[in-house]
């Protein structure tokens, strides 16, 4: 028995070595040899997403006879694993709704933006987002939706604590948090758990002139401003002004607590109202203000986030025509604004921008967009850096030394490229 098993393993290893030599190009994953059928993998933002795409695709197929779009909906929690599998098994979709593109562009998997949309669509993108869609100076992806971050505060708790104005500076945050704590609630909700530690951290660091890269675009994760930022957040935690254990608290927990009126302040986005506050506590009396700055004289920045549509090269370019037809169809003004208003995101095109500004809540975020700073998603190493940040950054405000944690992430970043 034992000998058989060992034999089988030996045989397996031999075959494995043989296969690895000639395993390339085995499957191109195309059932669509005519190039008129394309596969579109879309992310599930909420319950409205699938009905939107179903209707849009039906409309598209009716107006472009012979063309067909196969839709696959993937949850964000599954997305990274799915995408890796697609690429690794050479079964990429024609269009992918995702949050990164640069490593695909580096590996030569993507069309340039100019190849898959008409010049009219291409010139409609807001320049801020076009900058984020470039790899080595060329636009490789299509900005899809965007989002921004602002400081949310609970007006009732502020009144109870005797605070007149919304916080403007880091010092305000600390004193206000102390007052809110005295009034019996959590001062500041700090989510540094694995869900989105990189977004929370960057929202603070950018307002202390910190960030991920230096002026020349090199990784500068352990720069003094970032250490300073973490020390400030650590002090908030150690002074008992945050919820317990920021290192393992995710954004959704903080916002559920905020919606229940148990947290004084927290950083949120356009989705926070529809996603957390309205379902749990529609009467919550909250305000939204700019992100706090370290130095009272500096201008507040906001964190910009952008999701994209990646168009993959397939079957020697045969899918290009169908992809272009579908993307141009989607980027029509009324389709884009319908998606944005349903999902609570901000526009990436000029034409869809006006539609949202009529809502006073959304307008605050639209107005903040010009000051937005982005994570360096155009650097192919970013996804590895973000992964390291999500896993370990939170420990710096608990028991680890902030400088040491940032040094380790810096090392990861340099190793990744």
């Amino acid at each position: 028995m034992k000998r058989h098993l060992t034999g089988a393993i030996a045989a397996g290893l031999t075959v494995a070595l043989g296969v690895s030599g000639c395993g390339k190009g085995s499957s191109s994953g195309g059932d669509d040899s005519d190039g008129k059928t394309i596969k579109f993998v879309a992310a599930i933002y909420d319950d409205n997403t699938k009905p939107f795409w179903d209707a849009l695709i039906k409309d598209f197929e009716a107006k472009n006879s012979g063309y067909k779009v196969n839709l696959e909906m993937v949850d964000w929690t599954q997305m990274d694993a799915k995408v890796k599998t697609y690429v690794q098994t050479k079964q990429v979709p024609d269009i992918l709704n995702y949050n990164s593109f640069s490593d695909f562009a580096r590996d030569g998997l993507l069309y340039k933006a100019s190849e898959v949309v008409s010049p009219g669509t291409l010139s409609d993108f807001t320049p801020t987002f076009v900058e984020q869609a470039k790899y080595n100076g060329e636009q490789y992806t299509l900005p899809f939706i965007s989002s921004a971050r602002l400081m949310f505060y609970n007006k009732d708790l502020f009144k109870k604590a005797g605070i007149a104005d919304p916080p403007k500076t880091w010092a305000d945050i600390k004193t206000d948090a102390q007052k809110v704590k005295k009034a019996g609630a959590i001062g500041y909700g700090l989510p540094l758990g694995p869900e989105e530690a990189q977004a929370e951290f960057f929202s603070w660091a950018m307002n202390d002139n910190g960030g991920w890269v230096d002026a020349s675009g090199k990784w500068a994760i352990n720069q003094p401003a970032n250490v300073d930022t973490l020390n400030f957040l650590k002090d908030l935690n150690k002074s008992g002004l945050t919820q317990p254990n920021p290192e393992s608290t995710d954004r959704k927990t903080v916002f559920n607590q905020f919606a229940q009126g148990k947290v004084g302040m927290a950083i949120g986005g356009p989705f926070t109202k529809a996603g957390f506050i309205t379902p749990a506590n529609p009467n919550l009396n909250f305000g939204v203000t700019s992100l706090p700055v370290k130095n009272a004289s500096s201008q507040p920045n906001t964190l910009g986030v952008m999701d994209v549509l990646d168009a993959f090269k397939k079957n020697g370019g045969k899918n290009k025509e169908a992809v272009r037809k579908f993307l141009d169809f989607f980027y029509q003004k009324e389709n884009v604004s319908r998606f944005l208003s349903k999902e609570g995101f901000l526009p990436t095109t000029k034409s869809a921008g006006d539609a949202l500004s009529s809502d006073p809540y959304m307008k605050q975020f639209v107005d903040a967009l010009p000051t937005s700073k982005f994570a360096p998603t155009s650097n192919p190493a970013w996804s590895a850096v973000a992964g390291a940040v999500k896993q370990s950054l939170g420990t710096s405000v608990a028991d680890k030394d902030p400088k040491k944690v940032l040094d380790d992430i810096q090392q990861t970043a340099q190793k990744a490229g």
């Binding site: 028995m1 034992k2 098993l5 089988a8 393993i9 397996g12 290893l13 075959v15 494995a16 070595l17 296969v19 690895s20 395993g23 390339k24 990274d80 694993a81 995408v83 890796k84 599998t85 697609y86 690429v87 690794q88 490593d103 695909f104 580096r106 590996d107 998997l109 758990g193 694995p194 317990p244 254990n245 290192e247 393992s248 608290t249 927990t253 607590q257 148990k262 192919p380 190493a381 996804s383 590895a384 992964g387 390291a388 999500k390 896993q391 370990s392 939170g394 420990t395 608990a398 680890k400 990861t412 990744a416």
Partner: protein, 313 residues
């Protein structure tokens, strides 16, 4: 022709040598029955193993594109990770701790289930429940019971004045490990106690009768007769548990995600994080191979133990 040869060869022992074709045909006949399971094993077991080993020997970019053969580079990277040794040690504690506690509790539970008492059937069914429920679901329920803000366990302990403010159980690595191991024991108990129960039922009653006649007390009977005769059941149960617990992903993933940082990771969750957080597919493949080898060692131990059992009998 072929048919005849087979018939003659089978029917009359001192028959003339069958033809070559006949012999091949006869050798292939068992394949008809074995074939499907061989194909199944090849596709479901061997192929993934081959893919896994292949992955660990290739160099991948962060997007998942293969850049070709990488030699042992992925393994060098893996062994250079400063988190690897703590994760391995934690995995050892995780496996040994859970299996020992499970076995001890199951020996008691098996004894209980074997005893005659009113409502035994209900108790037997009750013990099966955690087995029937999905592990992920059980883990999620426990995670919410242990929640800092709205968890049932904090509520009960607060009401009983055991603690004076809510404890964020899953945020502290040591507490989190203890709770997760408790959950793992909880889901391992049904299978294990039923194996023990089955073992108990194979012990003939006359052995006990003989012991009673010889004047052995309950303790002496248990350690002198029950436990030695349960050896095969205990052996099988503990080895299957070792493999299951080692590979257990959903409990840790649902309850702490292996965090903060890597403080509650075992090799199984660490392997996942290497691929999907650190974007090192090759290195994750190398971790998978190491995991596979560790499991393989355990299987070999099992096989040796199984032979040892034959010798004893």
């Amino acid at each position: 022709m072929q048919h005849v040869a087979v018939k003659r060869g089978a029917g009359h022992p001192p028959a003339p040598r069958p033809s070559l074709l006949g012999r091949i045909g006869r050798a292939l006949v068992p394949l008809l029955w074995l074939g499907p399971s061989i194909v199944l094993i090849a596709v479901v077991v061997l192929w993934p193993v081959i893919e896994m080993v292949r992955t660990s020997l290739l160099k991948f970019t962060s997007s998942g594109t293969s850049l070709g053969f990488h030699g042992t580079g992925d393994f060098t990277d893996l062994f250079a990770e400063s988190d690897l040794v703590p994760v391995l040690l934690r995995t050892l504690v995780w496996v040994v701790g859970i299996v020992i506690v499970t076995m001890v509790l199951s020996l008691a539970l098996g004894q209980l289930l074997n005893a005659r008492f009113p409502g035994r059937r209900a108790v037997r069914w009750a013990i099966i429940v955690p087995w029937a429920a999905s592990v992920l679901m059980t883990a999620l329920i426990w995670r919410w019971m242990l929640d800092n803000y709205s968890g049932l366990i904090n509520r009960v302990l607060l009401d009983l004045h055991v603690i004076d403010k809510p404890v964020n159980w899953l945020a502290h690595p040591h507490q989190a490990m203890v709770w997760m191991m408790a959950v793992a024991v909880f889901v391992s108990l049904p299978f294990t106690s039923f194996v023990i129960l089955a073992g108990l039922q194979t012990i003939p009653a006359d052995v006990y009768e003989a012991a009673r006649v010889d004047g052995a007390g309950p303790l002496r009977t248990y350690f002198g007769i029950t436990l030695p005769l349960l050896r095969p059941a205990v052996l099988i149960a503990s080895i299957i548990n070792v493999i299951n617990v080692f590979n257990s992903f959903p409990i840790i993933w649902a309850m702490t995600g292996g965090g903060p940082a890597h403080a509650t990771d075992t090799t199984t969750t660490y392997m996942y994080k290497l691929a999907f957080n650190d974007q090192h597919i090759g290195e994750s493949g190398a971790m998978a191979v190491v995991n596979f080898l560790l499991v393989l060692v355990m299987v070999l131990v099992y096989l040796r133990a199984a032979r040892w059992r034959e010798e004893v009998r």
